[in-house]
């Protein structure tokens, strides 16, 4: 993947130079499918080689928490442990150890590592719409229980929760009316 050569998504033939950054669609030289290919400077950027940790040379020199024989280069911004060049993971200008990165990703502490969120508001709304006897109280429970739970990363309104509660109350009202009439 480090090669700047790009394949045609249809026929997997290597794309020739004249196809890139053209104003309009250009046919693939192999299969003829029209392509619009925009290349950016990152395509030709050489990937820097990974750093190797240096051994501790002087007595009393700070060493890595995970590799005591290796020299520490930075403290972890999450837990404060000293890290060698191998364990030091740089994320948005902050140094993290692998354990803190894992914790940040699984517990959602580091926002940029969060890769999923459950949508309780949509679940509550779906339950409120579903016309079954037990779904309306469950919808109200879900809405109240997860009212403060983080919603979508892009939409931060409580509108679905509010709508779910209103619909669920209406549904319960209809059920009560039906049972009282029967």
């Amino acid at each position: 993947m480090s090669s700047p050569l790009i394949q045609c998504p249809k026929c997997r033939a290597w794309l020739v130079e004249g196809i890139f950054n053209q104003p309009d669609f250009t046919p693939c030289p192999a299969c003829g499918v029209p392509l619009l290919a925009e290349a950016f400077p990152a395509l030709f950027r050489k990937i820097a080689a990974g750093q190797s940790a240096e051994p501790v040379m002087v007595e009393g020199e700070s060493s890595c928490f995970y590799h005591p024989e290796k020299k520490a280069v930075a403290p972890c911004d999450g837990c404060g442990r000293f890290l060698c060049a191998l364990c030091d993971c740089l994320l948005h200008g902050q140094h993290f150890c692998p354990a803190c990165l894992e914790t940040g990703a699984t517990k959602g502490k580091i926002k940029s590592l969060e890769n999923y969120r459950p949508r309780y508001d949509e679940a509550a709304l779906a339950l409120a719409i579903l016309p079954l006897l037990v779904t309306a109280p469950i919808a109200i429970f879900v809405a109240i229980r997860y009212w403060n739970a983080p919603g979508s990363i892009v939409r931060r309104t409580k509108a679905r929760f509010i709508l779910a509660i209103i619909l669920a109350i209406l549904q319960i009202g209809v059920w009560v009316l039906l049972f009282s009439m029967a």
């Binding site: 998504p9 890139f20 290349a39 950016f40 990152a42 999923y116 990363i153 892009v154």
Partner: protein, 222 residues
């Protein structure tokens, strides 16, 4: 850490190939300050994938035949239903009962519905598949399924990528850089075939494990 503000780039669109799994998956794109966010929403969960502007190497838009194919299919359906409705009107002649009026209205509604779908399809324009490449992956951006939308999205993303990567590439500079990249590898490729294959291949004794096919697991030769 404060929440990141995102700007919507595309509306959520059904991801192709996911319908068969009976999972309602919808994909949308959002512009962040330093990354492009793809949200795949399935049932009651949102999956996020971030593409940092500094890491985006290329964006490929491949024109597909979906536009033409759907035009043909919808055209045939509309024409068929229209002929059916006309034949109903013709068969009823001068006697218009409430049943006939109801049937004609029903078919008229269905024809109008399909005409509306056809018009919306034509207005949306030709279809495409969009791919985004970084150093480690090639991802399809399924919410960019129309050329018009893909061009608009590309125009929106472009300034962010240029700002993050410190400039844009002209077609000439792409040619020059590709030649520069591929030039040093040429002598190595020329040398490679000169290595005799027979000397490289290990000699296999009867007691050793034999791997004749890379797919088949190694076996002990009796």
């Amino acid at each position: 850490m404060p929440d990141i503000q995102y700007k919507r780039l595309t509306r959520s669109r059904m991801a192709p190939g996911r319908l068969a799994l009976a999972v309602r998956t919808r994909s949308s794109l959002w512009l962040g300050p330093d990354h492009l966010l793809r949200i795949d929403a399935e049932n009651f969960r949102e999956n996020y994938k971030r593409f940092y502007y500094r890491d985006i190497q290329a964006i490929l838009v491949q024109k597909t035949d979906g536009f033409r194919n759907w035009n043909i299919i919808l055209g045939i359906v509309v024409a068929g239903l229209f002929v059916l409705t006309l034949s109903l009107i013709a068969s009823s002649g001068a006697r218009w009962t409430s049943d006939t009026i109801g049937t004609v209205c029903f078919f008229g509604f269905i024809v109008a519905l399909f005409v509306l779908i056809l018009v919306l399809h034509i207005v949306a324009g030709p279809t495409c598949r969009t791919y985004l490449r970084t150093a480690v992956q090639i991802e399809e951006l399924s919410s960019l399924g129309r050329i018009k939308m893909a061009r608009h999205a590309l125009a929106e993303i472009h300034p962010f990528i240029v700002a993050a990567q410190g400039g844009a590439l002209s077609p000439e500079s792409v040619v020059a850089q590709m030649r520069e990249w591929t030039a040093p590898t040429a002598p190595a490729q020329a040398i490679a075939p000169t290595a005799p294959a027979a000397t490289v291949a290990p000699t296999v004794t009867p007691s050793e494990s034999v791997v004749s096919d890379p797919i088949v697991p190694p076996r002990i030769n009796p």
